[in-house]
């Protein structure tokens, strides 16, 4: 009974993983197809000796931690808001999904132009309202570029948390809140003792999934900054992509991808463990 599923998993997951591992042990240059010598861990030692790897790793940590925590906070707040009764609630619930439904490339382009130094609407509004003394080249300064791309990914990703947590909120029985009210619990007490415990499972799963997705994603950064200025927004998957795609160095690119997978393994194992426990 399990054979078709196992076969599909082997073809779609296991084979590419094994192939990537095999590539990472060879000197594979795209434009030298006839020569691909076995070099053992050469690609790994070269990657780890490269300062760009460590810069990219640091950027990845900042990117994942900031993006996921801000998405979660905003998504949770939105879910609590959408769980209340108000006019046009159905429309609001539908609209909140829009950023999640847009392709990353479109979102990247929208935010690139909104943050543009010369024509960007955010600079324009900021200067008009007196918040900014003058236009700021948000994506051209290493001090603000990462914040710019994080802003875009937060906007893109918060609906995931909003929708997931909203579903979780609706699964909490209303009687619990009524009983707590009778017992004299305030809003904070109900949130702390009913809402949070009731959502704990959903929150943990959503956080784990989103961490994996954000850690792996590179499309938004690629469109908005290409990893620049310099390497200010270059994350590990983008470093692997540029090494393979632009440099034609598929061996080194595969090694970087394997290293990223190993780093993410902790999160993946937690996710699998949670699923098994449930």
């Amino acid at each position: 009974m399990l054979a078709p599923a196992l076969a599909a998993a082997a073809i779609l997951v296991l084979l590419p993983v094994i192939d990537t591992l095999w590539l990472s042990l060879h000197d594979v240059i795209l434009y030298r197809p006839r020569v691909r010598p076995f070099i053992g861990l050469g690609n790994y030692t070269r990657a780890l000796a490269d300062p760009v790897f460590w810069e990219s790793l640091t950027n990845s940590l900042v990117w994942v931690i900031c993006a996921v925590s801000l998405q979660f906070t905003l998504g949770f707040a939105t879910a609590l808001l959408l769980n209340r009764n108000f006019a046009w609630r159905g429309i609001a619930r539908a609209l909140v999904v829009v950023p999640w439904a847009l392709p990353s490339v479109i979102i990247g382009l929208i935010w690139t132009w909104m943050l543009d130094f010369n024509l960007g609407v955010l600079n324009n509004i900021g200067v008009l309202l007196g918040i900014l003394p003058h236009s700021v080249p948000w994506l051209a300064q290493s001090s603000t570029a990462m914040a710019g791309v994080i802003l875009a990914v937060v906007w893109q990703g918060f609906p995931f948390f909003a929708v997931t947590l909203l579903a979780g909120l609706q699964a909490i029985p209303g009687e619990l809140y009524e009983a707590a009210s009778i017992d004299g619990a305030g809003a904070w007490g109900k949130f702390r003792h009913i809402t949070l415990p009731g959502l704990a499972g959903v929150i943990a799963t959503a956080l784990l999934l989103r961490m994996i997705w954000v850690a792996n994603s590179l499309d938004l950064i690629l469109v908005m900054t290409g990893g620049g200025p310099g390497t200010a927004t270059q994350t590990l998957p983008l470093h692997a992509f540029l090494t393979a795609w632009s440099g034609g160095n598929y061996g080194q690119g595969s090694a970087l991808a394997v290293l990223l997978t190993l780093l993410l393994l902790g999160v993946v194992v937690s996710y699998v463990w949670r699923n098994r426990a449930e």
Partner: protein, 405 residues
């Protein structure tokens, strides 16, 4: 005897039938990959005209997404590895070395030397289209040479003349900077290496081994970086400004000069009329200069089953009126002397600036690392230097190391 005659006659008749010679009726199909910047432009008119003149050859054009060059190149490499390469394709110098390393290119010398249109293409262009091994694998199809756009009205207000050397350029850039206007629209983002090269190699250094770290190149590169860091004659967004930013800034009057090429001439004239012109990029004190050559070439792949037909197609595209028609779609300059003489696609002053720049036109080293240089190594290091994270000399060391170890 009679029997032999009969058999010979039958064989001859059979050989003459379409069954025995299917190729006599079925035209040869040439798969051709191309890309036009303008998504609305198509080669349909050209293909129809060629097929009418050459009924035995059918052209199958395939518009390949450009993706900054990387997508196009990687699709090309993977198609070659998978034995599914087209017969001919549009190509650029920055992938010549990689394609040579793959033995993917058919040498064109024999055909070029016998081609009647050879003399209609200048020696400068043939020089630039010669590979490091002395052979010619690329056929000139279109070209641009980067020049300097200058707002004449803004210069006139400052009583300045059009800059011809780097000192005059800096003086003009400083005078034209103030408030929300900057003297020079620097391109530190994607594709910016093209407008950086006239500065780095403008006083005699060459992009060859040792050239990137020669005293002339180092000094000129410091001059380039200082335009942003010290003199502040460029917009603060210069480290990441790319094509759209430099063009829009010039059109919006936010910058007074920028380096680009003839493909944007018409839009500039629409905006400014006679108030804008183009001149060759500034030169060094000894008259030396370097104008970046932007090629668009075609090649025949060595794996093509019909190389003669593929050559017929690409040489047809580079012939006088056909090449003019082609470049109307591509928006670039014809490679033919006859076509340039009656060129009406762009105003004459922009054509003159392009043609006058040809003698000092040059390209990056033809090495496999060139594509990585243009897409990753140049922007990363230049942006770091522009932001003060590394010294200008460090970036040149990084370039020399990438190319020559």
């Amino acid at each position: 005897m009679k029997r032999r005659t009969l058999l010979t006659g039958a064989a001859a008749t059979l050989a003459a039938t379409p069954l025995a010679r299917p190729h006599a009726q079925k035209p040869v199909t040439i798969r051709w990959w191309y890309h036009f910047d303008d998504p609305k432009a198509t080669p349909d008119e050209l293909v129809a005209a060629f097929e009418k003149e050459n009924p035995g050859i059918r052209i199958e054009p395939e518009n390949i997404p450009w993706g900054g060059g990387g997508d196009y190149d990687n699709r090309l490499y993977t198609s070659i590895i998978a034995n599914n390469a087209p017969d001919a394709a549009m190509v650029k110098f920055n992938n010549l070395a990689r394609l040579m390393e793959m033995d993917a290119l058919a040498p064109l010398d024999k055909w070029i030397d016998a081609w009647p249109g050879k003399r209609d293409i200048t020696d400068d262009l043939w020089r630039l289209h010669t590979a490091p091994d002395g052979k010619r694998y690329y056929m000139p199809l279109q070209y641009v040479v980067l020049y300097l756009y200058v707002r004449l009205d803004l210069l006139a207000k400052q009583n300045l003349k059009v800059p011809t050397n780097f000192d005059e350029f800096l003086t003009a850039a400083k005078a034209l900077t103030g408030g929300e206007q900057w003297g020079f629209g620097m391109r530190g983002g994607s594709g910016g290496h093209d407008s950086w090269m006239p500065f780095a190699f403008g006083t005699g250094a060459k992009p060859v081994k040792g050239g990137f770290v020669s005293p002339a190149a180092l000094a000129q590169n410091r001059f380039f970086i200082d335009l942003h860091r010290v003199h502040k004659v460029t917009p603060p967004s210069a480290p990441t400004d790319a094509f759209l930013q430099i063009v829009n800034n010039l059109k919006a009057g936010r910058v007074a000069m920028t380096v680009h090429h003839i493909s944007t001439a018409n839009t500039m004239v629409e905006t400014f009329g006679d108030a804008i012109t183009a001149v060759p990029v500034p030169r060094g004190p000894n008259g030396s200069g370097f104008a970046t050559f932007g090629d668009g070439s075609t090649c025949v792949f060595s794996a093509s089953r019909n190389p003669e037909a593929a050559w017929k197609w690409i040489s047809w595209l580079s012939t006088g009126p056909n090449n003019v028609l082609y470049n109307k779609a591509a928006g670039q300059m014809t490679v033919t002397t006859s076509g340039a003489a009656n060129w009406t696609l762009h105003p004459k002053r922009f054509v003159d600036a392009t043609v006058q720049s040809l003698p000092i036109a040059g390209v990056l080293p033809n090495l496999p690392q060139t594509a990585d240089f243009t897409r990753v190594v140049w922007p990363q290091n230049t942006q770091k230097a522009l932001l003060g994270q590394i010294q200008p000399d460090d970036m040149m060391q990084a370039f020399e190391k990438l190319f020559f170890g």
